[in-house]
Symmetry: C2
Subunit: 224 residues, 2 copies
DNA sequence: ACCTGAACACCGTTCAAGT
DNA sequence: ACCTGAACACCGTTCAAGT
């Protein structure tokens, strides 16, 4: 932290970039504007992301996708260190684990809606994502599935959660062609009562699990 | 078609733009490059899209999203004209209609994978999209649903199809963080046989319909 | 190691002008 | 009506230089 060090770090840069994206939109995220927000010359960012904006985008996607909050006091480090996990409680039932993941992942996607276009052309192969998928496989096995049905169910789960978040963002977007009637109004005309996004997401999640396992889940509601 | 008219039209511009997107990626779609591909100065595009690139993007999204092929011989026109539909065959069963739409929509999204980031922040309120949704509502009613469950099922269907296509594109993308293990390999380790994307999509679609309606659909397979 | 400042090629868009 | 050509503000990135 000498005088001419602006205290930049990859994490601080990513968080400031996300603040710009969430506040002004992805197209307004500019290296120069990012530098301004960090109170630094734009070119300073290149010292932390030598491959430029594309590498910054990769880091943003990883940040949005992965739940893992970093310990803030530590120096930024590229290597994954194994951390001892002292907790030894019995894991929740399989449907609770799936429900919990679904709500958390959806919330993360919705919180950074402006960054979602970046996700589409980047592999979701982060360690955290793979750990989640391993747990989905285990959960559907506990639900009684076996063989290819396990992978089918896990893939469908991920597709649904991802698609539901993106569909919601889409329908809330300002842009659009000439709009004679909106999706919501069509649904209101069709159904009796309108359902809000949260309830609809849960209804679809439960139906999906029921369709794959034959069991109507009982522990998938969002936490209070 | 006088000598100094290059024969430009909104449709021709959109199709050329999509060719660039599909071939080189969205980031390489540039007004100047687009002009080159059309053998015209870049600024000629602004005569057909006075609001600039954003309006061009809107048109691209509409083109990708809507199935409706335009009659090629007609002059480009903004107004929707009512066309008499002489066909009077009985409509297919509800599950066949849903399956047909799901496969077609997915195919359109996969065909123009490079343009998908544009979809996320644009309302899906085109006339064709609304017509599809009306038919989904009708189909789920025919399957026995009523009340809010109808809208829940229709919304879940759209979320799943959209999410499955995007998830596939994502997993096929070159980009990514350090990749110790890919999703496919994880699934292969978990399940016995690997399922390809098409079969997995159909399995998830059937399970979703089963979960919402209680009926395992029999007519959702892709056409040969 | 970390940041600055000038420079370069390229971009979206405006505007006056041509036909 | 349809397209051109020059111009302007802005962008991502390189590179040599500072400390």
């Amino acid at each position: 932290m000498s005088r001419n060090s602006a205290g930049l770090s990859r994490q601080r840069i990513v968080e400031e970039a996300l603040r710009i994206i969430d506040g002004q939109g992805l197209r307004r995220l500019t290296m120069r504007r990012l530098g301004d927000a960090l109170e630094v010359e734009a070119m300073a960012v290149y010292h932390h992301f030598p491959l430029g904006k594309e590498q910054l985008f990769d880091a943003i996607v990883e940040y949005v996708t992965d739940a893992t909050p970093r310990r803030p006091a530590e120096v930024d480090d590229d290597e994954e260190e194994l951390v001892e996990e002292p907790a030894e409680e019995p894991p929740p039932p399989w449907d609770a684990r799936i429900g919990r993941w679904a709500h958390e992942y959806r919330a993360r996607l919705l919180r950074h809606a402006g960054a979602l276009p970046l996700l589409i052309h980047r592999r979701p192969d982060t360690p955290a994502a793979l750990r989640s998928r391993e747990d989905h496989v285990a959960a559907f096995r506990e639900a009684g599935l076996s063989g290819p049905a396990v992978a089918d169910a896990a893939a469908a789960l991920e597709s649904y959660v991802f698609g539901a978040a993106l569909t919601q963002v889409r329908s809330e977007s300002p842009h659009g062609a000439a709009e004679p009637e909106t999706l919501e109004r069509l649904f209101q005309r069709a159904g009796d009562a309108a359902t809000d996004f949260d309830s609809r997401f849960l209804a679809g999640l439960d139906a999906l699990i029921l369709g794959h396992t034959g069991v109507r889940p009982a522990h998938t509601a969002a936490p209070a």
